[in-house]
Amino acid sequence: MGAPATPPPVLTARSLVKDFRGFRAVDGVDLDVADGAVHALVGPNGAGKTTLFHLLTGFHRPTAGRIHVGGRDLTGKSPEQVARHGVARSFQTTSLFPQMTPREHLELALQAGTTLGWRFWRSDRALRRFTGRALDLLDQVGLAAHADEPAGALAYGRKRALELALALALDPRVLLLDEPTAGMGTEDLTRTIELIQRIRAGRTVVMVEHNMSVVAALADRVTVLQAGQVLVEGPYAEVRRDPRVISAYLGDAHAAH
């Protein structure tokens, strides 16, 4: 691509609306996520962050508005179609296959880009072609030592790490992380921030995040949502000084300190 001064947005949403039986969860949101940026979505509970996430990944169909990724219209596409267009997501609460091991999780994720999954007449040993790459990815997120334990038995922080590895395995152009540090202690938190810094290379990351120190450490741009609408959008340093944001959201956090 010919690169203009500011990179073109890789993900855009225009006038997105989502109604749930009369309740408007997302109300005319415009979003431009620059190629290669880490873009944080913040806002008080009920601001519509997760709904927006579900819209961007095809889990909800927008009531109105359009979504483009890399110039392609993904409005109303199914989650698997969105995933196949290079948009991978993690889930807010860990969402794994409890009986599979981390290695099997990653083999499954790597297989998703091939047609091997349809071959019901082959032995599942055919999946071994992905084992090397699977173990690499597990190593990246610090799970190499736990590759063959059932995922359901992993400690919480490790489950979250496996979530990240799963999204990474799809080698996505846009990575959407739904509260990647939710419920984490300081140690896991630091490790996760480092990890996201490492994996953002060559990708665009959109993250819903409550923890302002994580946003400060990672985000190039921040969109603040309130009551389903965009309140402010800009670099973190500007957004945190914005009086509307302070009263709507950061004000509470500051008061608490």
């Binding site: 989650p79 995933a83 969402s95 091991t101 349809w118 019901f120 007449w121 032995s123």
Partner: protein, 324 residues
């Protein structure tokens, strides 16, 4: 590769084969064939119930549909019986495409009810189309052509039919341990996650449904040849219920458990019918309730837990433990 996998646990495999070969010596041969057919039917249903997380309540459409098609082929085309059975199985798989397409996106009880509804449509179609199906009389006098061999003795016919059943059971086993089977496990345990990885979940369920229907058809077609007739019972909803009962008795998600469930129910039905007992459902129902309450993981799951675990270095692949 296949062989090394199968022979990794030679004792259960050899025991199973020996029992299958010895069965018509131990029990009345036609009953032995019934057990073999229902065992394959149960394994086919377990592909959906245990390995995909779908409860099918209309598989009589595929078992019975194949029984009629197999019978018609054998009656009118004079082909060897395995060809007729394969024709029936292929028809069942074909019939499963539209039914599966319309039902596979539903979950839980909705899936069960919609498959039941379609099966009832098949039942009424078979019942109404008298010219072809014989209506309430069924399809009588289905021959057992096999290159001039006399297979009229049920004892010999058991051995003629057994390879088809074993091939079907092998296919079911292979499917659960294939790359496709791995995706099915994911679809069963966390469909949203499987979708987020890029797997078209509804289409995977559809293929599982079609494969399950094809194997059910293999079993139903052989059953019809074995009995020499196809009847409305084969497409009636009680047949759909009975096979689900066998899978639950044997252990959901165990694949081989259905074989035990089939043996138990078929033997019991035969014993009670021979004894002139009228309320067979009362007895099988009571046993069903007791086994489900006492052995939560079914007969196979319970036996499996009691046996010593084989070589620990092999990756444990137990498709369904407690929660399935």
């Amino acid at each position: 590769m296949i062989l090394s996998r199968l022979t990794a646990r030679p004792i259960p495999l050899i025991t199973g084969l020996l029992i299958a070969l010895a069965l018509p010596w131990a029990i009345y041969p036609p009953v032995a064939l019934d057990i073999a057919c229902w065992a394959l039917f149960a394994a086919a249903v377990d592909l959906l119930l245990g390995h995909t997380g779908l409860l099918p309540f209309g598989h009589a459409a595929f078992w019975g549909g194949s029984a009629y098609v197999t019978g018609l082929i054998a009656l009118h085309a004079g082909l060897p019986f395995p060809v007729a059975v394969l024709g029936g199985a292929a028809t069942a798989a074909l019939l499963a495409v539209p039914i599966g397409y319309l039902s596979a996106r539903l979950r839980g009880i909705y899936f069960a009810m919609v498959t039941l509804a379609f099966a009832q449509v098949v039942y009424f179609a078979v019942n109404q189309w008298r010219g072809l199906t014989g209506g309430e009389n069924g399809l009588q006098g289905i021959p057992r052509h096999f290159f001039g061999l006399d297979l009229s003795d049920p004892f010999f016919f058991y051995y003629a039919g057994l390879p088809l059943v074993l091939a079907g059971l092998f296919a079911a086993w292979r499917i659960t341990r294939s790359p496709f089977g791995r995706v099915l496990t994911a679809v069963r345990d966390n469909p949203a996650r499987a979708q987020a990885l890029g797997y078209p979940v509804a289409r995977y369920k559809l293929l599982a449904f079609v494969l399950s229907a094809g194997l059910s058809g293999l079993a139903g077609g052989l059953f019809a040849i074995g009995h020499g007739f196809a009847s409305l019972d084969d497409v009636y909803w009680t047949t759909s219920g009975q096979v689900v009962m066998m899978v639950v008795l044997g252990g959901i998600g165990t694949l081989w458990g259905g074989t035990l469930g089939a043996a138990l129910i078929v033997e019991l039905n035969d014993y009670l019918a021979t004894a002139g007992f009228q309320e067979i459902g009362l007895v099988t129902g009571t046993i069903f309730v007791i086994i489900v309450l006492v052995f939560r993981r079914g007969l196979w799951g319970t036996v499996h837990d009691l046996l010593p675990t084989p070589a620990p270095h092999r990756t444990p692949r137990r498709p369904a433990s407690e929660g399935a």
